[in-house]
Structure formats: structure tokens, C-alpha cells
């Protein structure tokens, strides 16, 4: 399996400003000052070794959209945030309009940042394509129709030419999507959200975003520890710092970076990937939070080491 992150930002897409780009260029020039590069490879090597991630690159700003690639299987996509637009562009380049495809979409919930990409997903307009939209909410179709209604959007849902089907999933009832087994869990979030565990060939990837793990009851926490059990990769809503999450941002529906680490340790997860980044945080802040989370994992670790990373638009993880 491979996991491709098309959108990793929470709540609202953001974009790097010209000023932000200028800062990166400035820092790169500062570091390169006086250096000679023999060829392009030398420049690339310098960037990779001498410049920090937030200086040479960045996290991107598209909202939630993650593709789970399983060889020989139809498309599997988690959420239709603004990152779906770029996936659509790539699909059009790859297949063009002539080769119909099936897209299995798994929706965490119908909040705006998780549905806004659909009207900008070209494959949805092409007859012959199939969109199978899975989720635990009864309101998914209603939400997707409403966002394409007057006066908010000019192209109505019925204009989408693909064959669109809605499939309701029930927690604790495993669902077969081709050769991939999908487990569903209901999560604490305003209006509920759903997390998914995708299993294939002995590997497991969990997509669990927009969930506020309050740690109030051990029973509820244990249910998630069980759902995450021994996962090869956990994609987790780590939007806030711990203090923010349980004070000023209490009941806002999101978790913190260190709660993710603690749950991973308990569940024996192998790779923890922070997701649904706070729009307020820039690339430098997100890099610092990643470094801090790695350090927290080191301090708190009692058994095997957990790999900790932070998702960015364009990241691909091989499981």
C-alpha cells in the first residue's frame, strides 16, 4: 500500500503568501552565500542537506484529502477537501476522459473543509466514471447537494455526469471494498465523524481525523486503542497543542499532537502521522511542532520506538 497526501490542512485551505516565499528565498540565499555549485545535482544536494524542510519546502495548504493506493484496486480516497482538486488534475493527465474509473470515497464527515473539493474534481463530471461515496452520516448527499446550490455555486450537483452512489457504513461492521477490508469507528466531533481502518495483505492504515479525544473515560479511549491496534500507519488529527485543546479550544472537535503519541504507544502503532494542521501555523511552526512531538515520543517511550511524522501536501508514504 501507498498513502498519498493531497490535502493536509484543517478547517480552511491556506496558501503561502509572497512574503512567506520571500522569506524562504532569503534564507536559502543566506545559506548559499559564497558557495559554488558544480551542477544542478550539487544544488539539490545542498538544499536537502543544508536547508531545513520549512526553508526549502513546506506543508502546503489544501484541506483534507488522502489517497490510499492498493495495487490492482480501484481508487480509494479519504475525504474530498480542496486537495481533491489536484488529485483530479493528475487523474485527468493519467487517464484522460476516455477511460472510466471507479472512485471509492470514504468521508469522515460533511464539514465544509472535507467536501469542498468535489465541485473541482473533473472526473465527477465525466459520464462513465463511478463515485461510490461511503460514510456513516445520513446527511452526506444533502451536504454535497447543498454546497452546489444557488446562491453559493453555479454548477448544480445534478450536472455531475458521473454515476454517484452513496453507501452508508456502520461502525463495527467490516466492509469489503475490493480486496481491501474497511473498518469504521464513530468519533467524537460536532455532529460526529468517522474514522476508517484499511486492511490489505497484512498491512493496516488508519485514517482518523476530526476527533476530539478528551480522555474522559478509559472505556472510550480503549475503544480507539483497539481500533488503532498495531496499525502500520495512523493518520491522526493533531491540530492543537495539548494546553489549547483542553482549555480555550475545548469542544472544538480536535485533538493534540501528544495525545496521538500516547494512543499510538498504547496501540503499538508503527508510524504516527500528524494531520489536519491548524491554518494559523506556518511551515516553521509546524516543523517545530514535529520536532517537539518526536522529542515527546522519546521521553515518554516505554517500549518500541514509534516513527513520528507530519503530513504535508504531496507526501507519499510506502507501507
Amino acid at each position: 500500500m501507498k498513502v498519498h497526501f493531497w490535502g493536509t490542512r484543517g478547517s480552511l485551505p491556506v496558501s503561502l503568501t509572497g512574503d512567506g516565499i520571500r522569506k524562504k528565498v532569503f534564507q536559502a540565499l543566506q545559506k548559499a552565500n559564497g558557495k559554488q555549485f558544480a551542477d544542478d545535482t550539487a544544488i539539490s544536494d545542498f538544499m536537502d542537506s543544508e536547508l531545513a524542510f520549512h526553508q526549502r519546502s513546506g506543508f502546503g495548504g489544501s484541506s483534507s484529502c488522502v489517497e490510499i493506493k492498493v495495487p490492482g484496486q480501484d481508487y480509494i480516497v479519504c475525504d474530498m477537501g480542496s486537495g481533491l482538486r489536484e488529485l483530479g488534475q493528475q487523474i485527468m493527465q493519467e487517464h484522460g476522459p476516455g477511460k472510466p474509473q471507479t472512485y471509492n470515497i470514504f468521508m469522515s464527515h460533511p464539514h465544509w473543509d472535507h467536501i469542498m473539493g468535489l465541485p473541482f474534481f473533473p472526473p465527477a463530471y465525466i459520464p462513465g466514471n463511478k463515485l461510490r461515496i461511503h460514510g456513516g452520516h445520513d446527511t452526506l448527499e444533502q451536504a454535497l447537494r447543498k454546497q452546489q446550490e444557488d446562491p453559493c455555486f453555479p454548477v448544480h450537483f445534478d450536472f455531475l455526469g458521473a454515476d454517484i452512489e452513496f453507501i452508508k457504513l456502520t461502525p463495527s461492521e467490516p466492509f469489503q471494498c475490493g480486496d481491501v477490508t474497511v473498518h469504521t469507528i464513530r468519533q467524537p466531533h460536532h455532529g460526529d465523524s468517522y474514522g476508517y481502518r484499511f486492511e490489505n495483505s497484512g498491512k493496516a492504515v488508519v485514517y482518523s481525523t476530526d476527533a476530539e479525544h478528551k480522555l474522559e473515560s478509559e472505556e472510550e479511549t480503549a475503544e480507539f486503542v483497539d481500533f488503532f491496534k498495531s496499525a502500520d500507519l495512523l493518520i491522526f488529527d493533531a491540530m492543537y497543542t495539548m494546553a489549547d485543546m483542553i482549555s480555550v479550544k475545548e469542544d472544538w472537535g480536535h485533538s493534540s499532537n501528544i495525545i496521538g503519541v500516547d494512543l499510538c504507544h498504547r496501540a503499538g502503532v508503527k508510524h504516527y502521522c500528524m494531520f489536519h494542521h491548524e491554518p494559523v501555523f506556518g511551515d516553521k511552526a509546524l516543523s517545530e511542532i514535529l520536532a517537539e512531538t518526536i522529542r515527546y515520543e522519546e521521553i515518554i517511550r516505554d517500549g518500541d520506538a514509534l516513527k513520528v511524522s507530519s503530513a504535508y501536501d504531496g507526501l507519499e508514504i510506502v507501507i
Binding site: 494546553a243 489549547d244 522529542r295 521521553i299 515518554i300
Partner: protein
């Protein structure tokens, strides 16, 4: 957790690791002390020198204690964080939630002369 009183100040010293296996008892004990201190018009210094580490459930207990204290006149401050715990406080941003002091002696200076005197007398014993 160990408890010592110095005039209007109660020094609480929890011990060990606070994680999901121990957080529940840590929380109930801490909140009991918070309730008692609030009723007796006392303040709390949490002497953390005996805490090796604390995971998110433990921090949550501290936050609940802080919220409880804010309903009253009492204050809770934190002292003597070990290096790992100091880092955990910074990573979790709990250093913005609690006023922290390097030592309990430093923390006590923020309270009354009577508390400082009682503390000094205790140190000489």
C-alpha cells in the same frame, strides 16, 4: 502524594510516572486536595521533583485542577520540574497554564512572609 503545610501554602509532592495506568488515582487525589485547600483558603505548590514523566492523561488532570482553582481565590503553582518534565511542560504548552519555579524555595517566596518563615524553619529541622 506527600503533603506539607507552611502557613497558607500547601506543598504537594506527587511521585513516579503518571500515565493511563495511574492517572485516575493521581487525578482524584489531586482534586481532593484542591477541594480541601480551596475550602481552607490555602494555596498549592505542586512540587514535581518526584515525577519522572507525565503523559497527556496526567496533564489533563493538572488542567482540571487549574480550572477548579480558578473558580476560587486559590492559586496553584508548579515547582522543581525535572528536565524531562520541563520539556513536557513546554511541548504541551503547560508552562503557559501554570506559573513554574525552578525550586520550591523560589515558589514559596511568592506567598506571605509567614509562609516563607514556616518554610525556612522547616528547612532547618
Amino acid at each position: 502524594m506527600n503533603l506539607q503545610e507552611f502557613a497558607e501554602v500547601v506543598v504537594l509532592a506527587p511521585m513516579g510516572r503518571v500515565d493511563h495506568t495511574s492517572a485516575e488515582s493521581f487525578q482524584s487525589e489531586l482534586l481532593e486536595h484542591v477541594g480541601q485547600c480551596a475550602a481552607a483558603d490555602k494555596h498549592i505548590i505542586l512540587d514535581m521533583s518526584g515525577i519522572d514523566y507525565m503523559s497527556s492523561v496526567g496533564l489533563r488532570a493538572l488542567m482540571i485542577a487549574s480550572k477548579e482553582s480558578k473558580k476560587t481565590e486559590m492559586s496553584i503553582v508548579v515547582s522543581a520540574l525535572q528536565p524531562d518534565m520541563k520539556e513536557i511542560f513546554e511541548i504541551s504548552r503547560f508552562h503557559f497554564v501554570f506559573k513554574t519555579f525552578d525550586t520550591t524555595a523560589e515558589a514559596i517566596k511568592g506567598f506571605s512572609d509567614a509562609a516563607v518563615a514556616a518554610w525556612s524553619a522547616g528547612q532547618e529541622d
